[in-house]
Symmetry: C2
Subunit: 161 residues, 2 copies
């Protein structure tokens, strides 16, 4: 789908959905939609963190979940995600895992920062070689026990191929 | 909870859950558990990407969603996440959004890479100043329309405080 008018229609749907749920206190002012390679809308979703008590329920994550369920496939290759704001690292990770290769976004990370959302802060944490331990401490423990699980997975996969 | 034996019990539960669902082809070999500040287990979960057709259904995300639902709160301040492997960027983002400040992990990113999972590849994409466009293209469009939504949110928040 390269037609700007059509992408505008998709973005309008994402904005409309975000506005609706924001005003119902379901979640923040964020909407997203997923279209397939023909431009057909697969899912439209918005942030539902507050209503669902789910810190992962960002618009992009909800749209990806809904699309996976609708298509019966965790692989969304060929789809495009249209979102009202640049994805946070969580959502960017989800997009890459889903094999979506094209994102069209409205607002910039600094725009979200200006209305109180921490996207930029999480990007800085991930990009920093010595990230702030006040944000998060990551400690390694019981690696050997967990590696046993990984080895079992490798053996299992070997029997499949 | 600083007792190593107790953390080992929690990790064992995460490993056991991961082994079970891995062998049922529910998802990859990953498990996670969330404990509260007293060491009480709030949730235990594993990867269910394949069964749920959900690319976001990593063990950590599933554990966070289950904990949020159980506690009736998207804010998991004071909780610790115990996971069989170092979180991918999606899960790390989810952990920071949830306000969890302590993660105990088993396997390293390179261990996951060695059994075919792309965690490290996604970290490289996020950290790179000029990320590979074959992985993902991000294009800005309709920012002005989306900023209207952000302004509405600001006005709405002003009336609350």
């Amino acid at each position: 789908m390269n037609n700007d008018t059509s992408i505008k229609d998709v973005m309008d749907k994402a904005i409309k959905q975000a506005r609706k749920t924001m005003n119902e206190n379901v979640g923040g002012p964020f909407g997203a939609a997923i279209i397939d390679h023909e431009g057909k809308i697969i899912s439209v979703a918005s942030n539902s963190v507050l209503k669902d008590h789910d810190p992962t329920a960002h618009a992009e994550i909800n749209a990806i979940r809904a699309a996976g369920e609708k298509l019966g496939n965790h692989d969304l290759t060929g789809c495009t995600l249209v979102t009202t704001a640049y994805p946070c690292p969580m959502c960017l990770g989800a997009i890459i895992w889903s094999n979506i290769k094209h994102v069209i976004y409205g607002c910039r990370p600094k725009d979200a920062d200006e209305i109180g959302f921490r996207d930029d802060f999480i990007y800085r944490f991930i990009r920093d070689e010595h990230p702030d331990k006040k944000v998060l401490n990551l400690d390694e423990s019981f690696r050997e026990q967990c590696l046993v699980l990984f080895k079992e997975y490798q053996e299992k996969e070997k029997t499949l191929y």
